[in-house]
Amino acid sequence: MILLLPAILVMALLAIALAALLQFSVLEFIPGSLRTGGLTTRNLDAVLSPLYLRYIWDTVVLSALTTVLTLVASYPVAYALARSRSATMRSLLLVLTLAPFFTGAIVRTYAWMLVLGNTFIHWPVKLLFEPAGVLIGLVHFSMPTMILILAAAISHIDRTYERAAASLGARPWRVFWRVTLPLSMPGVVSGSLVVFAWTFSALPTPELLGGGRVKMIANVVKDLALDAFNWPGSAAFAAVALAITFLLLAVVTRALTRAGGAAA
């Protein structure tokens, strides 16, 4: 019980912060003033307007697309990282995977701005300040984590199952599809959940690569709180977004766990 004390204290602090957020969300915003008025439901009503629901929808779509694309792009790298016979190759892949962690989100995003803009390459379609550009940045940002989670899952697969399938005449692609992939589902589920959750709260990537035109939930919360100084409105939007995050995570967890269970 004593060992749990630090964790309980941290949770208590977070609960107080959350309570303050909820309290602000029901206080009246007075334009041109830092003071708040009495109790009101107006902030929550405003958040449920089409404009703000659209920001939430855009965030859900971008997060889902980021998760799927990150998974597809990361799996082959993770597989190679876990299964390559060459130690040099494994080291090289590990270094390349870890390298982005040492550059920081802002530096990486600025680099993407140069790549996606017209500074060095003239793209046939506009990528910078478009959802496609934000998606590319989010996928790149999420890949190292997804690769590491998937590689850990793949390296824990007992290879005798794959050899048994092959000895019974299954071709390599069939072995992967029917044995390796299902057995790596715990990694797929955890990686997808992590990527979905943090993409849902992404701030610098959509802020910089979206050029103000692509806004996700965190950008709108920031806009309301720090640009319009509408703290009650910002708190209401954050509270609604938090509730939606929990709901979506519950749905995604259930769906992925079922898919994993069925596949296994």
Partner: protein, 343 residues
Amino acid sequence: MAHRPILAALVVVLLLAAGPAPAADPLVISMWGGNWKDTVEKVIAKPFTAKTGIPVEFEVGGTLDRLAKARVAKAAPLVDITFTTSHVGRLYMSDGLFQKLDMAKLPNARDLAPEARRSDAHLGVWAYVYTIAYRPDQVKMDITKWADLWDPQLKGKVGMPDFDPSHIITISALLEGGDERSWQKGQERLKRLKPNIAAFFSTDARSQDLMKTGEAPVQVMLSINAFHLIEQGLPVKVVNATDKPGIVGIDTMAIMAGTKKSDAAHQFIDLALSREIQEQLVLTFKAGPTNLKAEVPAKLRGQPGVFTTPAEWRERGYIMDDETRAKTLPAWKEWFNATIVAK
């Protein structure tokens, strides 16, 4: 006798442990970062310390980040002086974060342009305008007036701030015969600008990046930032618009309520408003002085945002009402995000 060396060593150790004599309690200034802080440190803080012996420290951050910080530290302010824009100063005042200035301690304030006296709690230290700045090497047409922003030749080339759209909203209203109070008059005009908008920016640094990379080679830009880019060698033209004036911005100084260094803070502000310091600020920032006695070099006279006489303050820039701006900004932002920013 044998104890002498030990005693001497002990004295030396104690002296070292005591460290140097403590410096005077520093005056803490809340300020924007980058060029803003560097200039204020060099032009105002150093002479202030030389004159008074009081060191100066800076807390840097964005306009509204610092406001948020000031609000949560209201009971015990973390800074003594705040530099902020004039309308955001109104927000500080709404929560009693500024103290009333003692004008008897600010003799240099007598020479201020009336427009720089924003309230009895905050005074203008320099002026600039939000105007059009563009890169002639990337834009084929000659831009001379605000209405040119709507020209189809500028399709996908214009950048503007989204953290505070009050400038372009007011300009649209002015072009349609309204002003910031009747801003709705410019709504339809502003909607027609959408095809020309390439990007929005939320910081001065992003604005300058967009200009450098050519992603948004035409911008509704802070004149000081445009002059800064020119100094860096970028081919940028700053427009003195012929149809409507630029929107004037006045950065102000105020003393935080509850500070224990009110006297030193008054001295700092008075020094910042002195003719000599104002002249240096003009040279460094290419901004307009608020002290009407400050000399402005010939090459800067008539430049956007540089006003040298009471008549120029009135005629060459449009000054929005601070209170209207502070109160209407949330509504402007919401409309702007929903109608102009949203695809």
